[in-house]
Amino acid sequence: MKDKEVILQLKARNHKTFEELVRELQPKVFNTCLGLLQNEQDAQDATQEVFISVFQSIHTFKGDSKLSTWIYRIAVTKSLELIRMKKRKKRFAFLQPFLKNEDGEFKSEVSYFYHPGVQLEEKERAAILFKAIDQLPANQKTAFLLHKTEDLPYSEIAQIMNVSVSAIESLMVRAKQNLRRLLASYYEKNEK
Protein backbone atom coordinates (compact mmCIF):
# COMPACT_ATOMS: atom_id res chain seq x y z
CA MET A 1 0.00 0.00 0.00
CA LYS A 2 1.41 3.40 -0.88
CA ASP A 3 2.22 5.94 1.83
CA LYS A 4 -0.71 8.25 0.96
CA GLU A 5 -3.21 5.43 1.14
CA VAL A 6 -1.76 4.17 4.44
CA ILE A 7 -1.88 7.65 5.96
CA LEU A 8 -5.52 8.10 4.93
CA GLN A 9 -6.44 4.71 6.43
CA LEU A 10 -4.56 5.49 9.65
CA LYS A 11 -6.31 8.86 9.98
CA ALA A 12 -9.60 6.99 9.53
CA ARG A 13 -8.48 4.75 12.44
CA ASN A 14 -8.36 1.62 10.28
CA HIS A 15 -7.04 -1.00 12.73
CA LYS A 16 -6.08 -3.50 10.05
CA THR A 17 -3.84 -0.94 8.32
CA PHE A 18 -2.30 -0.04 11.67
CA GLU A 19 -1.61 -3.70 12.41
CA GLU A 20 0.12 -4.11 9.05
CA LEU A 21 2.16 -0.97 9.69
CA VAL A 22 3.28 -2.30 13.08
CA ARG A 23 4.22 -5.66 11.57
CA GLU A 24 6.18 -4.03 8.75
CA LEU A 25 8.02 -1.35 10.72
CA GLN A 26 8.48 -3.00 14.09
CA PRO A 27 11.93 -4.48 13.24
CA LYS A 28 13.21 -1.07 12.07
CA VAL A 29 11.83 0.80 15.07
CA PHE A 30 12.98 -1.83 17.56
CA ASN A 31 16.46 -1.98 16.06
CA THR A 32 16.76 1.83 16.17
CA CYS A 33 15.66 1.96 19.80
CA LEU A 34 17.87 -1.00 20.69
CA GLY A 35 21.00 0.67 19.33
CA LEU A 36 20.33 3.89 21.20
CA LEU A 37 19.13 2.38 24.47
CA GLN A 38 21.39 -0.72 24.53
CA ASN A 39 18.80 -2.61 26.56
CA GLU A 40 16.21 -5.00 25.13
CA GLN A 41 13.49 -4.29 27.69
CA ASP A 42 13.85 -0.53 27.31
CA ALA A 43 13.82 -0.92 23.54
CA GLN A 44 10.59 -2.99 23.74
CA ASP A 45 8.97 -0.28 25.88
CA ALA A 46 10.17 2.51 23.61
CA THR A 47 8.91 0.65 20.52
CA GLN A 48 5.46 0.42 22.09
CA GLU A 49 5.55 4.15 22.88
CA VAL A 50 6.54 4.94 19.29
CA PHE A 51 3.60 3.13 17.74
CA ILE A 52 1.15 4.52 20.28
CA SER A 53 2.45 7.97 19.40
CA VAL A 54 2.04 7.20 15.67
CA PHE A 55 -1.58 6.12 16.20
CA GLN A 56 -2.44 9.12 18.37
CA SER A 57 -0.68 11.81 16.36
CA ILE A 58 -1.04 10.66 12.74
CA HIS A 59 -3.33 13.67 12.16
CA THR A 60 -0.28 15.93 12.76
CA PHE A 61 1.76 14.27 10.01
CA LYS A 62 2.00 16.77 7.16
CA GLY A 63 3.26 14.31 4.54
CA ASP A 64 6.40 16.35 3.83
CA SER A 65 8.54 13.24 4.24
CA LYS A 66 8.09 9.48 3.93
CA LEU A 67 5.96 7.89 6.64
CA SER A 68 8.91 5.69 7.66
CA THR A 69 11.12 8.80 8.03
CA TRP A 70 8.58 10.35 10.37
CA ILE A 71 8.36 7.13 12.39
CA TYR A 72 12.16 6.88 12.62
CA ARG A 73 12.16 10.45 13.94
CA ILE A 74 9.66 9.51 16.66
CA ALA A 75 11.75 6.44 17.54
CA VAL A 76 14.89 8.54 17.94
CA THR A 77 13.05 11.17 20.00
CA LYS A 78 11.44 8.61 22.33
CA SER A 79 14.74 6.77 22.83
CA LEU A 80 16.69 9.93 23.61
CA GLU A 81 13.94 11.03 26.03
CA LEU A 82 14.24 7.72 27.83
CA ILE A 83 18.02 8.07 28.02
CA ARG A 84 17.67 11.58 29.52
CA MET A 85 15.12 10.34 32.04
CA LYS A 86 17.40 7.49 33.13
CA LYS A 87 20.35 9.89 33.50
CA ARG A 88 18.22 12.18 35.70
CA LYS A 89 17.33 9.21 37.91
CA LYS A 90 21.00 8.21 38.14
CA ARG A 91 21.99 11.70 39.24
CA PHE A 92 19.99 11.24 42.39
CA ALA A 93 21.18 7.74 43.08
CA PHE A 94 23.15 7.55 46.32
CA LEU A 95 25.53 4.93 45.19
CA GLN A 96 27.25 5.73 41.96
CA PRO A 97 30.76 4.38 41.42
CA PHE A 98 33.17 6.91 39.91
CA LEU A 99 34.11 5.38 36.60
CA LYS A 100 35.21 8.19 34.35
CA ASN A 101 37.96 10.69 34.90
CA GLU A 102 37.92 14.23 33.53
CA ASP A 103 40.00 13.32 30.44
CA GLY A 104 37.10 11.38 28.93
CA GLU A 105 38.74 8.00 29.10
CA PHE A 106 36.86 4.82 28.35
CA LYS A 107 34.21 3.97 30.92
CA SER A 108 34.67 0.39 31.98
CA GLU A 109 31.31 -0.45 33.51
CA VAL A 110 30.38 -3.90 34.62
CA SER A 111 27.85 -4.79 31.91
CA TYR A 112 28.33 -4.74 28.17
CA PHE A 113 25.55 -4.70 25.60
CA TYR A 114 25.48 -7.65 23.19
CA HIS A 115 23.32 -6.75 20.22
CA PRO A 116 21.40 -9.88 19.14
CA GLY A 117 21.83 -9.08 15.46
CA VAL A 118 25.63 -8.90 15.45
CA GLN A 119 27.53 -11.78 13.83
CA LEU A 120 28.86 -14.30 16.35
CA GLU A 121 32.55 -13.73 15.63
CA GLU A 122 32.11 -9.98 16.15
CA LYS A 123 30.09 -10.07 19.40
CA GLU A 124 32.93 -9.11 21.77
CA ARG A 125 34.32 -6.30 19.61
CA ALA A 126 30.82 -5.00 18.90
CA ALA A 127 30.09 -4.89 22.64
CA ILE A 128 33.19 -2.73 23.16
CA LEU A 129 32.16 -0.52 20.25
CA PHE A 130 28.64 -0.09 21.67
CA LYS A 131 30.17 0.97 24.99
CA ALA A 132 32.14 3.64 23.12
CA ILE A 133 29.06 4.67 21.10
CA ASP A 134 27.20 5.16 24.38
CA GLN A 135 29.67 7.89 25.30
CA LEU A 136 29.13 9.94 22.16
CA PRO A 137 27.00 13.10 22.18
CA ALA A 138 23.37 12.33 21.29
CA ASN A 139 23.48 13.69 17.74
CA GLN A 140 26.69 11.87 16.80
CA LYS A 141 25.36 8.66 18.38
CA THR A 142 22.09 8.93 16.46
CA ALA A 143 23.70 9.61 13.08
CA PHE A 144 26.26 6.83 13.51
CA LEU A 145 23.73 4.22 14.62
CA LEU A 146 21.17 5.06 11.94
CA HIS A 147 23.90 4.64 9.34
CA LYS A 148 25.57 1.54 10.77
CA THR A 149 22.65 -0.47 12.17
CA GLU A 150 19.83 0.65 9.89
CA ASP A 151 21.98 1.13 6.81
CA LEU A 152 20.27 4.44 6.06
CA PRO A 153 21.79 6.86 3.55
CA TYR A 154 22.94 10.29 4.75
CA SER A 155 20.05 11.96 2.92
CA GLU A 156 17.46 10.03 4.89
CA ILE A 157 19.32 10.48 8.19
CA ALA A 158 19.36 14.24 7.46
CA GLN A 159 15.57 14.20 7.04
CA ILE A 160 15.09 12.18 10.23
CA MET A 161 17.31 14.53 12.24
CA ASN A 162 16.02 17.62 10.46
CA VAL A 163 19.48 18.83 9.45
CA SER A 164 21.40 19.14 6.19
CA VAL A 165 23.33 16.30 4.55
CA SER A 166 26.59 18.17 5.15
CA ALA A 167 25.71 18.35 8.84
CA ILE A 168 25.35 14.56 8.87
CA GLU A 169 28.69 14.17 7.10
CA SER A 170 30.27 16.36 9.76
CA LEU A 171 28.59 14.40 12.56
CA MET A 172 29.83 11.11 11.12
CA VAL A 173 33.42 12.41 10.86
CA ARG A 174 33.34 13.61 14.48
CA ALA A 175 31.66 10.41 15.67
CA LYS A 176 34.38 8.27 14.08
CA GLN A 177 37.12 10.49 15.49
CA ASN A 178 35.67 10.23 18.98
CA LEU A 179 35.16 6.49 18.67
CA ARG A 180 38.77 6.03 17.56
CA ARG A 181 39.95 8.00 20.59
CA LEU A 182 37.78 5.99 22.98
CA LEU A 183 38.74 2.66 21.42
CA ALA A 184 42.42 3.61 21.55
CA SER A 185 42.04 4.36 25.25
CA TYR A 186 40.36 0.98 25.80
CA TYR A 187 43.11 -0.78 23.85
CA GLU A 188 45.81 0.88 25.96
CA LYS A 189 44.13 -0.30 29.17
CA ASN A 190 42.93 -3.76 28.22
CA GLU A 191 44.34 -5.17 25.05
CA LYS A 192 48.04 -4.42 25.40
Binding site: H15, F18, E19, V22, R23, Q26, P27, K28, V29, F30, N31, L34, Q44, T47, Q48, F51, I52, F55, Q56, H115, P116, G117, V118, Q119, E122, R125, A126, I128, L129, A132, K148, T149, K176, L179, R180, L183, A184, Y187, E191
Partner: protein, 95 residues
Amino acid sequence: MEQKEQWINEALNSLNGIKRPEGNPYLHTRIMERLNSAKRQTVPARMIWITTCLLLCISILNIFTIHMLLPKKEQKNELYQLSSELIHKNSFNYN
Protein backbone atom coordinates in the same frame (compact mmCIF):
# COMPACT_ATOMS: atom_id res chain seq x y z
CA MET B 1 51.04 0.86 16.70
CA GLU B 2 49.89 -0.95 13.57
CA GLN B 3 48.32 -3.68 15.70
CA LYS B 4 46.41 -1.03 17.67
CA GLU B 5 45.12 0.66 14.50
CA GLN B 6 44.11 -2.69 13.07
CA TRP B 7 42.24 -3.53 16.29
CA ILE B 8 40.45 -0.15 16.22
CA ASN B 9 39.46 -0.60 12.57
CA GLU B 10 38.14 -4.08 13.28
CA ALA B 11 36.12 -2.76 16.21
CA LEU B 12 34.67 0.03 14.07
CA ASN B 13 33.67 -2.52 11.42
CA SER B 14 32.22 -5.03 13.89
CA LEU B 15 28.68 -3.84 13.11
CA ASN B 16 29.03 -4.70 9.41
CA GLY B 17 26.38 -7.21 8.38
CA ILE B 18 24.33 -6.56 11.51
CA LYS B 19 20.80 -8.00 11.29
CA ARG B 20 17.60 -6.56 12.70
CA PRO B 21 16.42 -8.71 15.60
CA GLU B 22 12.86 -10.06 15.73
CA GLY B 23 10.64 -7.84 17.80
CA ASN B 24 7.80 -8.76 20.13
CA PRO B 25 5.16 -10.82 18.26
CA TYR B 26 2.48 -9.51 20.63
CA LEU B 27 3.37 -5.86 20.15
CA HIS B 28 0.21 -4.93 18.27
CA THR B 29 -2.00 -6.60 20.88
CA ARG B 30 -0.24 -4.72 23.67
CA ILE B 31 -0.55 -1.42 21.84
CA MET B 32 -4.28 -1.89 21.29
CA GLU B 33 -4.76 -2.82 24.97
CA ARG B 34 -3.04 0.38 26.04
CA LEU B 35 -4.97 2.52 23.56
CA ASN B 36 -8.27 1.02 24.68
CA SER B 37 -7.50 1.43 28.38
CA ALA B 38 -6.51 5.07 27.76
CA LYS B 39 -9.97 5.63 26.22
CA ARG B 40 -11.73 4.12 29.26
CA GLN B 41 -9.74 6.14 31.77
CA THR B 42 -11.62 8.82 33.71
CA VAL B 43 -9.98 11.91 35.15
CA PRO B 44 -7.14 10.71 37.34
CA ALA B 45 -7.57 11.17 41.11
CA ARG B 46 -4.29 13.08 41.32
CA MET B 47 -5.63 15.71 38.94
CA ILE B 48 -8.75 16.15 41.06
CA TRP B 49 -6.67 16.64 44.22
CA ILE B 50 -4.36 19.16 42.57
CA THR B 51 -7.31 21.15 41.19
CA THR B 52 -9.07 21.16 44.58
CA CYS B 53 -5.94 22.38 46.37
CA LEU B 54 -5.39 25.12 43.80
CA LEU B 55 -9.00 26.34 44.11
CA LEU B 56 -8.68 26.33 47.88
CA CYS B 57 -5.47 28.39 47.76
CA ILE B 58 -7.00 30.90 45.37
CA SER B 59 -10.10 31.24 47.60
CA ILE B 60 -7.97 31.80 50.71
CA LEU B 61 -5.89 34.41 48.89
CA ASN B 62 -9.03 36.19 47.71
CA ILE B 63 -10.52 36.28 51.21
CA PHE B 64 -7.24 37.56 52.62
CA THR B 65 -6.91 40.25 49.97
CA ILE B 66 -10.50 41.47 50.44
CA HIS B 67 -9.97 41.56 54.19
CA MET B 68 -6.81 43.66 53.75
CA LEU B 69 -8.46 46.08 51.32
CA LEU B 70 -11.65 46.75 53.34
CA PRO B 71 -11.31 49.85 55.57
CA LYS B 72 -11.11 49.04 59.32
CA LYS B 73 -13.66 50.34 61.95
CA GLU B 74 -11.42 53.26 63.17
CA GLN B 75 -10.74 54.30 59.59
CA LYS B 76 -14.51 54.24 58.89
CA ASN B 77 -15.20 56.51 61.90
CA GLU B 78 -12.46 58.95 60.82
CA LEU B 79 -13.90 59.08 57.34
CA TYR B 80 -17.39 59.71 58.73
CA GLN B 81 -16.09 62.51 60.99
CA LEU B 82 -14.20 64.16 58.15
CA SER B 83 -17.17 64.07 55.82
CA SER B 84 -19.44 65.56 58.58
CA GLU B 85 -16.97 68.43 59.15
CA LEU B 86 -16.81 69.16 55.47
CA ILE B 87 -20.59 69.23 55.17
CA HIS B 88 -20.82 71.52 58.21
CA LYS B 89 -18.16 73.89 56.80
CA ASN B 90 -19.87 74.09 53.47
CA SER B 91 -23.24 74.86 55.03
CA PHE B 92 -21.55 77.51 57.27
CA ASN B 93 -19.98 79.18 54.21
CA TYR B 94 -23.32 79.50 52.48
CA ASN B 95 -24.82 81.01 55.59
